[in-house]
Symmetry: C2
Subunit: 314 residues, 2 copies
């Protein structure tokens, strides 16, 4: 448990920057490794410490993540920074365990339909992979964290509604399989705050003193409202991406991940100190915008700036 | 009280479209009366029933509202539709009372500094105006509603922080002066959901079975989160504008009012039925976009559409 608490302190909120992974899944122009490193360092200097930085996938099929081993080294070089990367099969997990990555992210779909369509495996097989990765981890690099992300946890673009009980069963199965953290993802942005609140209360009960994470998309404008509901109901680890980079494969042109900058402002207004500087985020954003011309960057706080004349920070 | 309850039923949520008033305060190209009417009718056909449609101000200084008397007639012609317009002084109130407008909106600033800078009167004088308008209304058109909107209620761009107790005192003074409804406005988008929740709980206690309204701006990305907090804490009348039209005079280029389309989706996910059709809103938005080329229209649901395969409506 100490391994986890040192990375994800349970007395405050942790914001995970997933723009360098989820944000790059769909962009038209991939940033160079150099640009990624400049973006990473600028966000680190702004106070961000948690980076989901890529995916250990075949470089031939996912060239935007070909430099993942290099990127996790770049994170490791930054004092106090923590890297995570996707490991979607045994080969990916092996590569991840040989790298300096701090956290391996496995993905389990909430629905059988999406699991088969997206990963060509059943949900049970996906949970079995978590168990395998856990065994590999315990042998090779016991200090690395395993994060099991449950996609489509709030509604599925293929199967439609998702029963919360199914998600909770899967979450429990992942914990039993050795996951240190379970994350719930609103992959296609179907959720409203009531649904997120209910789910987080159940997750908090299931997880006890173990952390869980919430990965929200702003596809339908509810991203920040859902984040507020999550924070109000026990979630302490939230994903977001600079400028909301990410999009939605099922809604062309739609907004993507929750906007990191706006989430920082939200957290502070709710009494959760982030130690993240908005001006620094704006600098990082400029780097990302320059590296990916033609991509839409979203968010309000980057345009409006923080309120003046009031204490908006926690 | 029946007068109010027939317009703002207290067993559900009411969404007020303020785009034709607040949305036009800052736009570069004003839509023609014809375009406003086409926009109005399309939104009515989509299910919207409450329109803040302009301001009874000198046409020489505010030419975008020169047609306000005509516009309130256009609303009156639509079965079950309700119009509101600003009446910022006695002359405006007189003109409003001679019109077919259903609701006169008076404005009181939450801070002395903003009151003097914006209206050249003290807060006490602004409350006295509400009392005067009430007397005039009782004599001339007792079935019209008086709405007292308290601007800068969550923070002031001039004075900075605003004490909730000050806002509640002003709200009570407005009710005592004869206002049927008090509205609280986050004029410059300073609020977070915790602040909105606390304020709405206090307002619900103050107002008892009288309705109050909440006017939110999305200047810093918290608009929909704040709306969720308001709904969770007793607010049942919320302002918004199509495409978030409006902006912020203190933050050039910033997002404006809460996006009407996204607010409809939020309400439905929270169990508040709106009877408003998103496809119809998209048609109205096209009219407004065409009438105001170069204006930024915001919002996520207009791009992404509602979720498919799930029951997202209340």
């Amino acid at each position: 448990m100490n391994r986890i608490a040192s990375i994800y302190p349970n007395d405050g909120v942790t914001l995970r920057e997933v723009g360098l992974r989820d944000g790059l899944q769909m962009v038209k122009t991939w940033p160079s490794t150099q640009a990624k490193c400049a973006w990473l360092i600028e966000e680190y200097l702004a106070g961000v410490r948690h980076f989901e930085i890529g995916s250990f996938l075949p470089a031939a099929r996912f060239p935007q993540f070909a430099d993942v081993a290099h990127m996790v080294e770049a994170v490791a070089a930054l004092d106090g920074a923590h890297s995570a990367a996707l490991a979607l099969n045994e080969r990916g997990a092996e590569a991840a365990l040989q790298s300096v990555v701090g956290e391996l992210v496995c993905v389990v779909s909430a629905t059988e339909e999406h699991s088969q369509a997206n990963m060509r495996r059943s949900r049970d097989e996906a949970v079995a992979l978590v168990a395998n990765v856990n065994s590999m981890r315990n042998g090779a690099a016991p200090d690395k964290i395993i994060n099991a992300g449950i996609s489509m946890a709030f509604g599925c673009s293929i199967a439609g509604p998702v029963a919360p009980a199914d998600v909770l069963r899967l979450a429990e199965a992942c914990l039993n399989a050795g996951a240190d953290i379970v994350g719930l993802a609103d992959t296609v942005g179907y959720a409203g705050p009531k649904q997120v609140a209910d789910m987080c209360r159940s997750m908090a009960q299931l997880c006890g003193d173990r952390a869980f994470s919430i990965h929200l998309h702003d596809t339908r404008g509810t991203g920040i409202a859902n984040a507020a509901a999550a924070l109000d109901n026990g979630a302490r680890i939230l994903d977001a991406s600079l400028g909301g980079l990410g999009g939605c494969p099922f809604a062309p042109g739609a907004t993507g991940n929750v906007v990191f900058e706006d989430l920082v402002f939200l957290c502070e207004t709710m009494g959760f100190a982030t130690a993240i500087d908005l001006d620094g985020l704006a600098k990082a954003r400029k780097i990302a915008e320059t590296a990916m011309p033609g991509e839409d960057f979203h968010g309000a706080i980057n345009t409006a700036g923080a309120p003046t004349g009031i204490e908006w920070r926690a």
